[in-house]
Amino acid sequence: MIRRFSRRELLLAAGAGLASLVVVRPARATPEAMQEAIRKVAGPARINRGRVKLELPPLVENGNVVPLAVGVESPMTEADHVRAIHVFTERNPQPDVLSVRLGPRAGRARVATRIRLAHTQTVVAIGELSDGSWWSDSADVVVTLAACLEEA
């Protein structure tokens, strides 16, 4: 006898399929332009994950004004501080967004601004510490209304 799949079983199977797709997708599938821009800033240095915290809303209605904040864990002393923070996007017309230079006089390694996002995409923030090490964080943002597309 041929067994018929119930609607529930089919949905479950489809769900499992989707889940495996998500797992299969590489964790850092960043397009080349962004990688190139990051390399231009960081050189061949190894970029570790962690210490940087990139704050972005996961869902954005208007890509023209997206609040962004980047903080880096650091005591911000003369001997151990954050030298620079850079932000990049994967699918905007240009990968560069913001490059910040700071030092021990900042007291706290944190910067906030508002950015434009042209598409649903991944945003990456990297931080350079005074010991020469690099750290990063990334955030996926879903954009409903894209920036940059309207005519003047």
Binding site: G103, A106, G107, R108, R110, T113
Partner: protein, 106 residues
Amino acid sequence: MARAMVSVPARARRGEIIEIKALISHAMETGHRRTQDGSTIPRDIIRLFVCTYNGTEVFRADLHPAIAANPFIAFSTIATESGTLALHWTGDNGFSVTESAALVVE
């Protein structure tokens, strides 16, 4: 003329970390947009923002077209001595604006 708004606390204790917020009116035209007849609208953005504290640079940011119109930047600095915080914005087409705020450190 561009309108700039700067938020700096008027008084602070020595060694306290103070937050500075800076907002300036500017279209930040990306250079990627086109008019209806298809010609590109040339780029016109603020490229650089610098904060000096009694003449010493404490914060600098390079801005790109991905920064939203009317750029807002918030950052912090340690209140070391009484004096002036000067914020400078420079950009395309000779754009240059400076705004200052006085800070009393107790």
